[in-house]
């Protein structure tokens, strides 16, 4: 397993009021993302445990795109990855941000 950790400045704060959200499963070509609203609203961290070694530059690029496009400020994102492709990672990141924005039950 390779462990990667990124702290980035997020231009937009995450919407909604939910404290956490989780999406995806850890399987071949898939990943889970746990989002927790625990940080300052201009910061986003991403901690990754991945079965596929040597893709740090790709992760960095996907995360840079993600914080530029989505409202991710204040979120600590934790990822368990089973070797997902970058498009799947981008999809799950978008989904978890959407999920944490949903009104609370």
């Amino acid at each position: 397993m390779e462990h990667l950790s990124y702290t980035v400045t997020a231009p937009r704060a995450a919407g909604g009021t939910r404290r956490q959200a989780i999406i995806g499963v850890v399987a071949s070509g898939n990943l889970e993302v746990l989002a927790e609203r625990v940080l300052a609203t201009d910061t986003c961290t991403v901690d990754i445990a991945t079965a596929a070694r040597g893709f740090a530059p790709v992760w960095q690029a996907v995360i840079a795109d993600f914080v530029a496009l989505r409202a991710a400020g204040g979120l600590r994102l934790s990822i368990n990855d089973g070797g997902a492709r970058p498009d799947t990672v981008a999809l799950r990141l978008a989904q978890v941000v959407r999920l944490i924005e949903e009104p609370e039950a």
């Binding site: 499963v25 850890v26 399987a27 889970e32 746990l34 445990a49 934790s78 368990n80």
Partner: protein
């Protein structure tokens, strides 16, 4: 949790999607959620990926306003297999149910015990079976729902055998030894694991319903599982010696009646089904109509 659009396939859904679609909207409260990161202590020794909930989601909820405790396995994470944490979460839930006097729903989706933590997994299976028996003897129900991709195999099949009632879809499979295990041990002449139609004729939901191995047969749809679960929650609970005696007699009769069958179709023919070859192709409602006229009766004690 969020409500999902109807038309969701139970087979295709994740464990969390199944819970959201099965239970009353917004009623699910998770115990030991993913934010607690209670992961397997063993997988890292094998350099394998972990999941924050270890593939087992447990909590409390209501179903049609009846309070229940509920557990769901994520069949896509390590084949839904039981490990130390995965199993302990279900054991704890069942013991909590005994203290609270609650019925329990188990959404099975498992290949059995996780090979990487086999001893812990096997111990968990026996603890879970004991906890189910204790809970049932105290007058509570344990209802198993089976229709996931991994089926319900190995120790999961043993646990299912201890439940008060099982609800299965056509896609669901229930057994202890899986097709590959049988082929490896007994040879391809005994069981060809690549013959998927054979797997479903001998372990699939339709066959299990016909021989009384499952109490409810439903479409691959959370709404159908929900209705059947509500019905199962209304049945009288309990487990005593006379029920076990009756169950053993039923199993003895089953062996005498079907013991020489080579295939599911032989069993169905013995049941009096005129065209057994047509069974796999029947639509759910047509099948249930036909099956209810000739199936072996399921028994509370399994």
């Amino acid at each position: 949790m969020t409500a999902l659009p109807s038309g969701l396939s139970w087979l295709e859904a994740s464990a969390r999607q199944r819970l959201a679609a099965l239970l009353d909207p917004g009623s699910f409260a998770e115990f030991i959620g993913p934010e607690q990161r209670e992961r397997s202590p063993h997988l890292r020794l094998f350099d394998l990926p972990e999941q924050f909930d270890d593939g087992m989601i447990v909590g409390r909820a209501t179903l049609c306003r009846t309070p229940v405790l509920v557990a769901a396995q994520e069949g896509r994470f390590m084949g839904g297999a039981f490990g130390e944490v995965h199993g302990a979460k279900l054991t704890g839930l069942l013991r909590a149910a005994a203290l609270l006097g609650r019925d329990v729903l188990i959404l099975f989706d498992t290949g059995g015990v996780r090979l990487q933590e086999a001893n812990a997994g096997e111990l968990a299976i026996s603890e879970i079976m004991r906890a189910i028996v204790d809970l049932r003897r105290a007058g509570n129900r344990v209802i198993g729902l089976i229709g996931g991709r991994a089926g319900c195999y190995g120790g999961g099949g043993l646990i299912a055998g201890c439940c008060s009632a099982l609800i299965v879809s056509e896609q669901g499979r229930i057994s202890v030894s899986g097709p590959e295990v049988i082929e490896t041990n007994k040879g391809v002449e005994e069981f060809d694991s690549r013959d998927r139609a054979l797997v479903w004729r001998t372990m699939g939901g339709k066959h299990r319903y016909l021989i009384g191995g499952a109490d409810g047969y439903v479409a691959d749809d959370p709404a159908a599982f929900r209705a059947a679960t509500q019905s199962a929650l209304g049945r009288s609970p309990g487990l005593d010696l006379s029920m076990l005696h009756a169950e053993h007699q039923r199993l003895t009769r089953r062996l005498a009646r079907f013991g020489n069958a080579r295939d599911g179709t032989d069993v169905w023919s013995t049941l009096g089904i005129a065209d057994p070859d047509a069974i796999p192709g029947l639509a759910d409602d047509d099948f249930r109509h036909l099956a209810d006229a000739c199936r072996e009766v399921a028994d509370d004690a399994r």
